[in-house]
Structures are given as C-alpha cells and as structure tokens.
Amino acid sequence: MIKPENLVYSRTKVLTDNVMHYCPGCSHGTVHKLIAEVIDEMNIQDKTIGVSPVGCGVFAYNYLDIDWLEAAHGRAPALATAAKRLNPDKYVFTYQGDGDLASIGTAEIMHACNRGENIVVIFINNAIYGMTGGQMAPTTLIGQVTATTPHGRNVELNGYPLKITELIAQLPGTCYVTRQTVYNPLTVRKTKRAIRKAFENSMLKKGASFVEVVGTCSSGWKLTPVDSNQWMIDNMFPEYPLGDMKDL
C-alpha cells in the first residue's frame, strides 16, 4: 500500500505530462529526465531558460516545464549567449544534437565556448541525424551505414568523424568539458552529476560547461534498443572515450 512515508521516489515536477515522441531505446528521454531532476533539486525552475535545437530534441520544450527558446538549426549557442548576458541571474542551457552542434552550428558553439559564455551545453551525440530519417552526421563512424552513406562512411568521400568535444576542451573559455553516456544505472548517475556540476558552474563565472552524452538512436541505427546499447559500447566508445576532458 502506498503511504506518504513509504514513497521513496516520484517523478520530478519539472517534467510535464506530455507523452514523449522519442522512439523506444532513444537516449533523449533519459537525458531530459536528468536535466529536469537537476533543475528540481537545485530549485531553479523559475530561474532556468532552455534553448532547444533543430533535430529530435526540437520538442524538448514540450517535456520540461520551464521557459524555452526554440532556435534555428545550430544557432542555440548564439541565443543562449544573449539570453545569459541580458539575464545574468538566470541559468541558461542549450540542448543540441550532433548535426545541430557539430555540423551546421560549428561556428556558434566554438565562439560561444571560446568567449567563455556562462552557459551549459548538453550535447547528444548519437552519430546520426534522427529527425530527418537517419542521414550521416559529422560524428558518424567510418564504415557506418546511414541513409546518405548507404555503402558506409568513406573517408575519401565523407572525411573523418568530428571529435568536437576534444576541440571544445582546448578552448580557454570552457571550464568543464566531459563525455558521458546513459545506458545503465551507473552511467545515468554519472551523467546526472556532470549535468549538476555544469549548472552550478554557470553561476560561478568560470566560463562554459559542456556535457557530451554519447547516446543511441535505435531507429536510425536500425537495431533493437538492447543491440543499440551493445553497438554503442563496441563502436562508439572506442571513437568517443568517456570521461572528463577538463574540470577547472
């Protein structure tokens, strides 16, 4: 029987009742929940401004009960720059995928981070374009089959996977750069700690905090959720090793 004193867990109030549109096995839902929990635990719902991307995360504003700005493709860091500078008492974060952040928005993310904007960047890297139907991303692995690399990503044709987080870590404007994942309870907890640290940093005027989450895209990868996790462990982690790259 459920009595108040027996309740040890409840869904955070920062998540809305809307049914998420994400596919089974997708990492977005987990990361959304972690951000919502951090906002709830820090008691900053009224002080948080989210900037959502173009990509599967575009509807993040339907799921987290906070104020949102929906950006054009890749431009979230520019929006966040102004939102934070004009509202320095607010927590401002962007939520971006690999196409948004590492392809079309490369200029905006590099310069926002290099200027040391006191923002949080949550970067979901699943090595594919989810929303448009599984095309090649800048982070797509060599040999990986996508809708626009039907014969596998070929270096001669498509160049190399872009390790943008390693580049971001080199920028003096960032204070915290880390790569995490969310495929089991341990990694979920680690990612939550990283997100919390990033949010706390944004009031310390230390510069930008950047949390990459290596995630799965079962639909895009054409694998079951369980197989997706294994494929990620076997293929993504060697290319995108987990851990902190910078923590000042």
Partner: protein, 363 residues
C-alpha cells in the same frame, strides 16, 4: 522644460547614441562597411557602465541575428546593424523572429550589390526588406529615414513599433545617410524598461524563467499541425493589416497643386526635394511623395493624388524595385516610370529633373 541637446553627428553614430538614450538593453553586431561606426561608437561610449546595456561583437551576422532572437525572447530591447551582404546572412534569423513574433530592431545601411558589390550607397535592398528576404509569409515593419535626424528618431520609434506589434522592425537606410553628418536634436534619455513595464505593453510572453504561477513561455516558430499553422499565418495577416491601418507614414511636399509626382524615399527623396525646387522655378508643377514606412506602403496616399496627376516618376538608387509598389498603387491609370542610378552612383537633382522632363515630354 527639458533642455534640448543638439550635436553634429554621422548617421551611424547617432544610431548608437539614440539606442543608449532610449533605454536599449543590448546590441549584437558584426563589422561591415559602411556601418561599422554603429558598434565602434557603442564600444567607445561603454553603455554597460552607465545604463547596463550589453554590447557584443558577434562572430558573424548569423550569430548576431540569433543573439537578437535570444535577447528578444527574454523580453529585452535588442538591436543590430549591418549592411546588405550582412543582412542577407540575417535572413534566416529574421524569418524565425517574425515567426516567433519577437520584437527587435535591425538597421540596414545599404550598399550596392549584388554579391559583395560596392561599399557606396544604394537602395537595392528594397525587395529584400519589404517583400521577405527570408522564407515564409512574413513582413518586417520597414522605416526609411531621409536624414540623420530621422536615423535618431526612428530608433525609439522602431522599438516602440516592435514591441507594440511583437514584430521585427528594420530601419532601411543607406551608405549616404549612414556616413553624412548633420545637426541632430538628441532624444530625451529614458531608463531601460523593467520587466513589469514590458508586461504592460502587450502582456506576459517573455521566456525569462517560469514562476510557478504561470504556464511556461516558449519562443518558437514550429507547428507541425497544418491546420494550426494556417491559423497562425492568418493571425499574422491580420496583424499586418492592423499595422497598415495604424502605422503607414509618409510625407507630401508641394503636392497640393502638383500635376506631376515623384515618389522617392531616403536619400533619393532628399535629392528629389532639390529637383522639386528647380522644377517649380521652371514652372513645372512637380510634387514629392516620400514614403516613410516602406512596409506598410503608403498606397492610399498615392491613390488620393491620382485625379490631379498626369504621370508619376519613381526615383530610387536601384534598377527599379519600389516602382513596382507605385505601379500597384496607380494600377495603370496614368503612366509610371522609374529613374535610378545604381552600383553606388548617386543621381543629381538635375538628372532627376531631366528624367521628369523626358517623361512629361518637355524635352
């Protein structure tokens, strides 16, 4: 009574000064000739130490306009300035701002195109400013200053209109007005708006942190349900009609007895004013209609004059853009011709007179 302050200033400089004085919250821009003095003046004046205004040099015009989106969405008074090639880069951001119904001010100090073109004055961005520029059915409110004084005045007016209608406003200037110096009466200094004052203007909409007392605010232009998107498009149309009804501005000079009419805005209107004087000395009953808002366009103001007119000449520093709106207003009732110099070349009053004399068969 408050003491009036006069200064001798460049058009670009006065934009910066007017913005600070009218309580602007933020400027985000990228250098481009012939308007770089706007940001240079702001940086020199350091308003962040006085009014608290934020000034930031962005990495590109693409970033500048998206910074405007970020600032405007939190309910702040933000502006940028650029020149033609930079405005092309802002086209994406402008349509998102219009689609999310966000207020902001964009100053275009136009130079000749296409492409990199020239750095000299032109009026060849009329189509871009008034007919779109970015994708989708949207409009900017477009103000066309013809003096350094109007560069000053239209900053405050631009913000007022932007917030009244929650719509981006463009000041469509050119390299001549941006670079020339004139005596200006500065606007009175106003404090920056408080959050409460912004809410008073047209309700609570800014996304600046959600208190538990209200629903979340989302600045977005996305709607996957076609029926809802159509409704939204129709709402915009109604808003634009309201703007046309309330905000159409123009000036008529020597039109009372005019048999011939020049329609010209901005620099071309200044030049054409001299043409009118010479024409009148020669006994030609020539008048000038100067659109001050290019969107909404003063169509009715032209139509009201038609019974007394024999023909109309549209004078603009382009190969013929605004002339299309003149023709739409005249609707074939009398001849409409275009005269313009392009590529950074500026017509003389005598050249304009010559064009009028050719049109009315005096030559």
């Amino acid at each position: 009574m408050e003491k009036k302050e006069y200064k001798l200033l460049k058009g670009n400089e006065v934009i910066a000064i007017a913005a600070i004085r009218c309580g602007c919250d933020g400027y985000f821009g990228y250098p481009i000739t012939p308007q770089s003095e706007v940001m240079e003046t702001l940086m020199e004046l350091k308003p962040w130490e006085t009014t608290g205004m934020v000034v930031l040099q962005a990495e590109s015009e693409v970033a500048s306009i998206n910074m405007l989106y970020g600032g405007a969405a939190t309910g702040k008074k933000v502006f940028t300035s650029s020149s033609s090639p930079g405005i092309s880069l802002m086209a994406e951001g402008l349509t998102y701002l219009a689609g999310a119904e966000l207020p902001c001010l964009v100053v275009n100090v136009v130079r000749g195109g296409p492409g990199l073109g020239t750095i000299q004055p032109a009026q060849s961005d009329y189509f871009q400013a008034t007919k779109g520029g970015g994708h989708g059915d949207y409009r900017l409110i477009v103000l066309a200053p013809a003096s350094v004084q109007e560069m000053n005045d239209f900053v405050d007016l631009g913000f007022e209109l932007a917030f009244k209608y929650r719509n981006p406003v463009m000041i469509l200037s050119d390299g001549m007005i941006g670079q020339m110096m004139e005596k200006v009466q500065l606007s009175p200094e106003k404090p920056r708006w408080t959050d409460e004052e912004i809410e008073k203007l047209n309700g609570s909409w800014a996304a600046k942190g959600k208190p538990s007392t209200r629903e979340r605010h989302v600045a977005t232009s996305l709607e996957l349900d076609s029926a809802k998107q159509e409704k939204f498009n129709q709402k915009l149309v109604a808003k634009y009609a309201e703007i046309a009804k309330n905000e159409t501005r123009y000036e008529r000079i020597m039109c009372d007895d005019a048999e011939y009419l020049i329609v010209a805005y901005g620099s071309s209107a200044r030049i054409s004013q001299k043409t009118i004087e010479i024409a009148r000395e020669k006994g030609i009953k020539l008048g000038l209609l100067r659109p001050i808002t290019l969107y909404p366009y003063p169509t009715k103001a032209i139509q009201e004059l038609l019974p007394q007119l024999k023909c109309v000449l549209a004078v603009e520093m382009s190969t013929g853009q605004m002339v299309e709106d003149v023709r739409l207003a005249v609707n074939g009732k009398i001849p409409v011709e275009h005269y313009g110099r392009v590529g950074g070349m500026i017509p003389t009053p005598e050249e304009v007179l010559n064009a009028i004399e050719n049109l009315i068969g005096r030559k």
